[in-house]
């Protein structure tokens, strides 16, 4: 209890600001300052969220979206880390791929959907691949940088103490890059979620993005907000989950535990 009290004093702003925002919204919608048709009261939205959860609608869509995020993130992570490491290790590869990546990376990934549909089966596979594009670039960039920023003196010392080839990679270059790889994974996971939901809005009949868009079109605004809330919560949970995983796996990183 005491620990909770201390935690609350320390993180008062973190907890307080969203609550204050919700209270202000509640008040504004109740008094008619905000039009309740477009901005229903948070308490009403919460009731709708409960209904969606109880009748099972929400779980099905959430499971679909989660599976898509899982596939696209895995695809992006495996390819991004592998290619990022290779680019970090070999200058020629880096010099060859950098300009290509620089051109493709800034294109909003949803725009790849038609293109991807020509190459892989349209539908589920195209959705997953499209959602992996931006995520892949982020992970590859940070991984490359992660390899390149390793202290040269540390590498020199490792070589001096007999680490060569595979051992140099496994004991020095990979662990040295890992903090950056994790940053890339966290960013990439966020982008997988963003693009999965965006593609669901454009082209899917299931998933949270589809549910959100449908709710909007038939003007079930409360359901739209409820879905909104679920997507936001999902994003936060995934991001913090990955951060927690990082803290567990990389106890040697100085800033772990300082947040």
């Amino acid at each position: 209890m005491k620990a909770l009290g201390r935690w609350l004093t320390e993180h008062g702003m973190t907890v307080g600001s969203p609550i204050a925002l919700l209270l202000a919204w509640e008040w504004a919608s109740a008094t008619g300052l905000l039009r309740a048709v477009f901005f229903p009261r948070p308490s009403t939205i919460l009731a709708h969220l409960r209904d969606l959860a109880l009748d099972g609608t929400l779980w099905g869509h959430t499971a679909t979206t989660l599976a898509r995020i899982g596939w696209s993130f895995t695809l992006a992570a495996v390819l991004g880390v592998a290619i990022g490491l290779a680019m970090g290790l070999w200058r020629r590869l880096r010099e060859g791929l950098d300009p290509v990546f620089a051109v493709i990376y800034p294109i909003p990934s949803v725009l790849f959907l038609p293109l991807v549909s020509f190459i892989v089966p349209a539908g589920e596979v195209a959705l997953v691949v499209t959602s992996a594009v931006t995520s892949f670039f982020l992970i590859a960039f940070t991984t490359t940088h992660g390899v390149r920023q390793i202290d040269r003196l540390v590498v020199e010392a490792a070589v001096h103490y007999g680490a060569r080839g595979w051992r140099l990679f496994a004991t020095v270059l990979l662990p040295g890059a890992l903090p950056f790889i994790f940053t890339g994974l966290r960013l990439g996971l966020g982008f997988s979620l963003i693009v999965v939901v965006a593609v669901e809005i454009v082209s899917a009949s299931r998933g949270l993005g589809a549910l959100l868009w449908l709710s909007w079109q038939i003007l079930k605004v409360e359901d739209m907000y409820a879905t909104f809330f679920v997507i936001a919560l999902l994003g936060a949970l995934l991001s913090y989950g990955l951060a927690a995983l990082r803290d567990r796996l990389l106890p040697w990183v100085p800033d772990v535990g300082d947040r």
Partner: protein
């Protein structure tokens, strides 16, 4: 004194770097030797190639000309092990795993590695910190790990590249005493690079003075201040005389190095 082969023999070693299309001579025909069990200190102004010389001995830099010979008395152990200036520990390895890193790379078994790590960490006074990560240690403790890592390999020659330069003055003094104690215990041949003449006089059997770039051997001074030596040696008249004598020569080189950096005439710096 019976004549025996020197432990370290450096003859006519030159190192030339390519830098921005120009070739820079870092070391110019360096010749020196270290006897078995000797503590040899190398001093010189910045840019005199002290660290480069050490890297040649470590096999990390290849000389452009000349020869380096290190007498191998114990087959199976590495010729050299280096203590780096900024400790250069692997941040993702615990203290123990840093100390055993060289052994691991050479395929030494786990039990022997652990025993060796315990022994070395006890010697540098870090037995209780085996499971810590480098970032949890102070600067002085990190450098103790660096020393334990080098010694764990039982090298023929211990190379030290300004190992105490990054530490605060008090920690440095403590570490100097520690080094003397460890060296007396193990009797290793040490080649020790420092920019501090005081440190060289406290630690060394002989001091090699290098000139400003290009690094040449200017003078080699025997330090006859007796052993075992402690901090109290700094109060002895002989120490003061030696310090004055070598500093007069070192000062010329330092001024020359500063003038060289600024592209100025040594007269202007106050030589």
């Amino acid at each position: 004194m019976p004549t025996r082969d020197p432990k370290v023999l450096v003859s006519e070693v030159s190192v030339t770097f390519e830098s921005h299309g120009r070739s820079v001579v870092a070391l110019d025909r360096i010749s020196l030797q270290a006897q078995v069990g000797e503590f040899l200190c190398i001093v010189g102004p910045s840019g005199s190639g002290k660290s480069t010389l050490l890297r040649v001995l470590a096999g990390l830099v290849r000389q452009s000309a000349g020869e380096v010979r290190i007498q191998a008395d114990h087959p199976g152990t590495p010729l050299t092990a280096m203590v780096f200036q900024e400790h250069a520990l692997l941040p993702w390895r615990t203290v123990r795993d840093n100390v055993t890193f060289g052994l691991e790379n050479r395929g030494v078994g786990r039990a022997e590695r652990d025993a060796r790590a315990r022994e070395m960490l006890a010697m540098v006074g870090l037995a209780r910190f085996a499971q810590h990560y480098p970032h949890q240690l102070s600067g002085g403790m990190k450098q103790r790990v660096g020393i334990a890592r080098a010694l764990a390999n039982d090298p023929e020659v211990l190379l030290m590249d300004e190992p105490l330069a990054a530490l605060d003055a008090q920690t440095r003094t403590i570490m100097q005493e520690e080094l003397l104690r460890i060296w007396a215990t193990l009797g290793k041949t040490v080649v020790y690079v420092t920019h501090s003449l005081e440190e060289a006089l406290l630690l060394g059997d002989r001091v090699v003075l290098l000139t400003a770039r290009p690094g040449r051997v200017s003078e080699i001074y025997p330090i006859d201040l007796g052993r075992p030596r402690g901090l109290e040696v700094r109060a002895s008249p002989a120490y003061g005389v030696l310090l004055e004598k070598i500093w007069a020569r070192l000062r010329e080189e330092v001024v020359r190095a500063i003038a060289d950096d600024r592209g100025a005439d040594p007269e202007e710096i106050g030589a």
